[in-house]
């Protein structure tokens, strides 16, 4: 018997509110099997898809299945996977490579880590299928160094697959060979960009390079390369096994199958949620996530990490897919979904993301290196109460320049958090600039603390004030000396009577 937080009881996990609307394909075996036991994966039809591909299909048949399935890249950009494989298969070159992007750098996304830790063989199987389809014999999985457990489980899984003859020479007696190696990242967000990732594997600074040529033509070590994200790969064995029609029956017109979201932030149920494309944000946040806890008001859902945007509740009934999210100024990204309540300041959130991009910009192209820095400085100015009337216009114009002239997706999408918050929460920008107020009470320089008539003179605020800014006799209303107040928020937290106002 499972009792949910709302008190309802179910006998089956899939009947609970959290799981009811989920459809688990990429996460199919996460938490179900022991990821260190290859036999458990095989027991759930693991490596059956690879066996069928190698013994019953020609490489072009595999590509056809993927094209028909409508699978698109789950790393964020949504490029059709079958098409990508076809380009690499047709590209001229003796040596070809298959790579897996496991450099999950978007803050707030952890589905790739969970798949690698919970079901590593599904990724290995899919990469081997990809290698067969394009004619590669060597693969690399590029994993963030922040994920040591994922690396350990992958190492065990690769070792076991070799032992069972599922990696290495003459797999399934088909004469097909494939070897797989792990390469570790070293903490650079831009390495999630495909050309930067390959440059990093080659042993250089992970800087992107202009495309074309696309990696499918000239990628790793200048050879044709297929690079897909972990979640994309995790879908592939199921597509081969169950057929493209099965996969294409889920989702929307343009986006098929399911998508995993990492639900986090100020929401009751946090965790990985895999739902068919076309599910609405309301279903994810309110039904699966159980809404915002603590009686607070929902403000925005942030998707797409530093490249995405903040979506307000008025767009809650939009069916989520690649196109719809882009239409409302956000993006799919890798699937981080952070819920923010009334206590989050949208200007501060935009500044937070720009701070991230400033640090992570590789510095190769000027619009991104200098533009994001300037953008961040302007937001800093606004949040510190020095905003001027034409700042919003300046922000918008700089955003447009950065988007249109940056070399790679990092720079091209870096202004998104600013643009989306400007679109949906312009009133907060105006409050910061004109009224010198932070409505959410986050931006310290714009806050002032005062004591209201609810004060009973208990003295707890005065005792705890580190700046000795609060005075008043016992049982009389206290007062805060604004010149001494350091806005540390201690009085607000300690007061049991709601007698401290901030704003």
């Amino acid at each position: 018997m499972i009792e949910s937080q709302s008190g309802s009881k179910s006998t089956n996990l899939s009947d609970t509110r959290f799981y009811k609307k989920q459809r688990r394909i990429a996460l199919r075996l996460c938490g179900i099997i022991d990821p260190e036991q290859i036999d458990e994966y095989i027991g759930y039809d693991g490596y059956e898809a690879l066996g069928r591909a190698l013994t019953e299909m020609k490489p072009c048949d595999v590509i056809d299945i993927l094209k028909k399935s409508g699978l698109r890249g789950r790393g964020g950009a949504g490029f059709p996977t079958g098409l990508k494989w076809e380009f690499a298969a047709k590209a001229a070159g003796e040596q070809k490579y298959v790579c897996c992007n496991a450099d999950e750098g978007d803050p707030g996304a952890f589905m790739d880590r969970s798949i690698l830790e919970g079901d590593p063989h599904s990724v290995i199987e899919a990469m081997t299928i990809a290698a067969y389809a394009i004619g590669a014999d060597q693969g690399y999985i590029y994993v963030r160094a922040e994920y040591p457990l994922a690396v350990k489980r992958l190492e065990i899984a690769i070792g076991k697959a070799k032992e069972y003859g599922l990696l290495g020479e003459n797999i399934f007696d088909s004469g097909f060979n494939f070897n797989l190696e792990i390469r570790l990242g070293a903490g650079a967000f831009v390495c999630g960009e495909e050309t930067a990732l390959m440059t990093s594997i080659e042993g250089n600074r992970g800087e992107p390079r202009p495309r074309p040529p696309f990696p499918a033509v000239k990628g790793l070590f200048k050879s044709p390369t297929v690079l897909n994200n972990v979640e994309t790969y995790a879908n592939i064995p199921q597509i081969i096994k169950n057929g493209p029609e099965w996969f294409a029956s889920m989702g929307t017109e343009t986006s098929k199958g399911t998508k995993v979201f990492a639900l986090g932030g100020n929401v009751t149920n946090v965790g990985l949620v895999e739902v068919p494309m076309g599910t609405t944000l309301r279903e994810i946040v309110d039904e699966i996530g159980g809404g915002v806890p603590g009686g607070k008001k929902f403000k925005a859902a942030q998707t797409g990490g530093p490249s995405g945007g903040c979506i307000p509740s008025k767009h809650f009934d939009v069916p989520i897919d690649y196109e719809q999210l882009a239409a409302i100024g956000s993006m799919m990204g890798s699937g981080g979904l952070i819920v923010m309540d009334e206590d989050s300041c949208m200007v501060d959130i935009a500044k937070y993301f720009l701070g991230f991009t400033v640090e992570e910009s590789c510095g190769k192209c000027n619009p991104c290196r200098i533009g994001t820095k300037r953008l961040c400085e302007m937001l800093e100015k606004i949040t510190s109460g020095k905003g001027e009337d034409d700042d919003i216009e300046k922000l918008e114009s700089l955003c447009r320049h950065i988007m249109s002239s940056s070399l790679c997706a990092l720079g091209q999408t870096a202004p998104n958090p600013v643009i989306s918050t400007l679109t949906f929460f312009k009133d907060e920008y105006i409050a910061h600039i004109k009224d010198k107020k932070c409505p959410a009470g986050v931006c310290k320089d714009l806050l002032s603390y005062t004591i209201n008539e609810k004060c009973i003179g208990c003295t707890i605020c005065a005792k705890n004030c580190p700046a000795d800014a609060i005075t008043g006799a016992v049982k009389t209303m206290h007062k805060i000396d604004q010149s001494k107040c350091i806005k540390c928020n201690v009085c607000f937290e300690k007061c049991k009577f709601g007698a401290i106002d901030k704003g």
Binding site: A109, F110, A186, F189, I201, G203, G264, V270, G336
Partner: protein
Amino acid sequence: MADSTIAFKGTKEQEAKLMEAIELHRSQPGPLMPVLQAAQDIYGYMPREVLEIISRQMQMSLSDIYGIVTFYSQFHLEPKGKHKIHICLGTACYVKGAGKILERFEKELGIKDGECTPDGNFSIDALRCVGACGLAPVMSVNDDVYGKVTEDQVPEILAKYKA
């Protein structure tokens, strides 16, 4: 590159280990990253002396290697504290108040993000998402992970490592 203010204390054993790693990776395509990662594991940081060994052995210029080392945030030119405090500033942690946890650690230890205490005991580094967003705000000291941390827990956590 500026020389470190901290004297290099590498041992013969460490150097032998580094040479072993260089030999292991030398013939692979793209050998530099695995070699640098091994070097950081062996020495805990990347002082000039170590980069010079790699430069000689791999026949690459020191400036090229320096450019690569400083590009990636996980390579350090200066040593870190005996106890490494990492505070996740990913989005989920940030909206749940990780910024305040970081401030509190900075205040308690009297150092800023990225710095090390003068006695070499503690260093603080903010991280960009460790992928444990369900436990937000998350932080770790060495290999111990702490989830759903509150500001008030900070002194308790520090006390465990001060002894």
